[in-house]
Amino acid sequence: MKRRDFLVGLSGVAVISVAGTYFYSIRDIDYDPVIAEPFFLSHIWDNESILDAGKKYLSDASGEKDVQELVKRIVKNNGANGSESIQRINEQIADDFENDQTVLVDGWILSVTEARQCGLYSLIQKT
């Protein structure tokens, strides 16, 4: 399953691209790179804004500086593969807001999960 472009089907939505592989494998964790794509934020932000937010989140979040750690925190125990994970992550984002799991990133009130997605996205772009 190639996840090069995301959200292509949504008109007027920013298109960002992650590396063109089927799955990423970093150390002992396999994950679908789509989890680095903040679905909701891509409706209002372009690539650069997501990168910026990711960098800012990482600079403030201690212990979340590497891909492995971020992937673990984003997917939790839900598994990292397949399109189902996207749905689960989106639900998790709403749950974050419900449970005060929010962070301020450059003034934006974000779910911690989507902030981590931005962080992961910025790290992937570096690799």
Binding site: F40, I44, D46, I93, F97, T102, G107
Partner: protein, 518 residues
Amino acid sequence: MHIDARKIPDNSLIEGDVCIVGAGAAGVSIALDWIESGYKVILLEGGGFEYDQKLQDLYRGKSTGQKYYPLHGTRLHYFGGTTGHWAGMCSPFDEIDFMERDWVPESGWPYSRQELDPYYAKAQEALKLGPYEYDLEYWQNKEEDLTPFPLNENIVYPKMWQFSKARFGTVYKEDIINAKPIHLYTHANVVDIVADENIALIKELKIKNHEGKAHTVRANQFILACGAIQNARMLLASNSQVDSGLGNTHDLVGRYFMEHLEIATGQLWLFNSFSDKLYTRWGEPRAELAITKEAQMEHKILNGTLSLTPLAIAKHIIPRMELLQVDDYKKAGELFFGNMDESEEKAKSDNTLHINKAYEFQIRIEQAPNPLSRVTIGNDRDALGVPRIIFNWDLTELDKDSIRKVNWIVGQEMGKANFGRVKLEKYLQDPDDYTWPSGTNAGWHHMGTTRMHNDPKKGVVDEHCQVHGLDNLYVAGSGCYPTSGTSNPTLTLVALSLKLSEHLKSKLKDKEVLIASS
């Protein structure tokens, strides 16, 4: 009946049953309510029927606190008062505004919103508004496409406003002039309030004008209705019998001045296009995002609402606190609307990605009652010899915390609904930052200064707006508000004035019965 006080013989004695000082929204509403009463009403207006810079100058003063507009510009000194330049936004105060809240110092009115409801309904008529209906459902039944954001209404709900186009100076001029029991005196500026020797009753008022004429006004009952700042000034400046001024035994006159903070607080970016008519139109019933009573109680915040302006326009709007630092306030309208037109024009060429789904939040929030936020009098005097005011607008940490939390709550609700995201303005991002940005606007809404409380140690006036200790002196208007709510003040001040009016009629009738039976 209209009499120009400049044209009657010097040192005239003017007498009536009731004397109302000030012909703005409060004073005119009360006067209209007395047309059929059978009593003779003296209505004193310091100005004439038109804007006059010389008269506006009487309102000049010195500001010492938080940056404020020139004091002579925020109020209009002629018949019709400040309705001559108001925006007309009306909404009743909320139930919570009347409640004692343990996190809001000195909060709590002597009565509930319910008690004011009948007067709100009458005030709607005085202000030429629609029916006394502020539920969204009512307006949705009359008009399609008034769709609120899909948020949890137990936390964030659409609070409705109606718009009044009533400028009292034009709408009620003929009614007042043609009413035989109403004796309107223009160019009649009160310069002193004189009490009897026991300081228990007001005996007379001294009035003056720029033509050098001085007159005396005697009545059974007196109502000060000159606006929150001027009412306090009059009481403080009437200090020939009591050093601290009239009604000021407990050093409360002038204190607890409140404004509505109206500041850009953040941005809302929606994920998808949404019909925003309910929130963005002007001049017809519309909504702002409000925080429910329960959520305010949970978060211990002040009452505030967020209005929405398309971001493409809002980002070019100059904050009013910067734009309207002008001497001649006739130019204020030109400047304000000029800036709006220019902003709308610039917005047309804005190609920022998704800008059509973005809005600026502007909060309107009550100010926490604060004794240091106050009006005093100084040594400078105006052209008629009345001490000018020193004005100290003072804000508190609760004000800023509440602004931050209101935006945060709305941001969270947008997130829960996955409907959009909110970005806070820089000055709200650090919870330990209690500074205020240069664009900290106020609404030209003057409240407090003669606050209402049944305990004379806690309020200048009682629940009937009678000045404690002075049996025949009343204060009408927003100066009596113990707390300032999130709604624009005029509808409530007219309602409160009509309540006062009814009380006074009943008081006079009772006195007549007493005299007849003795």
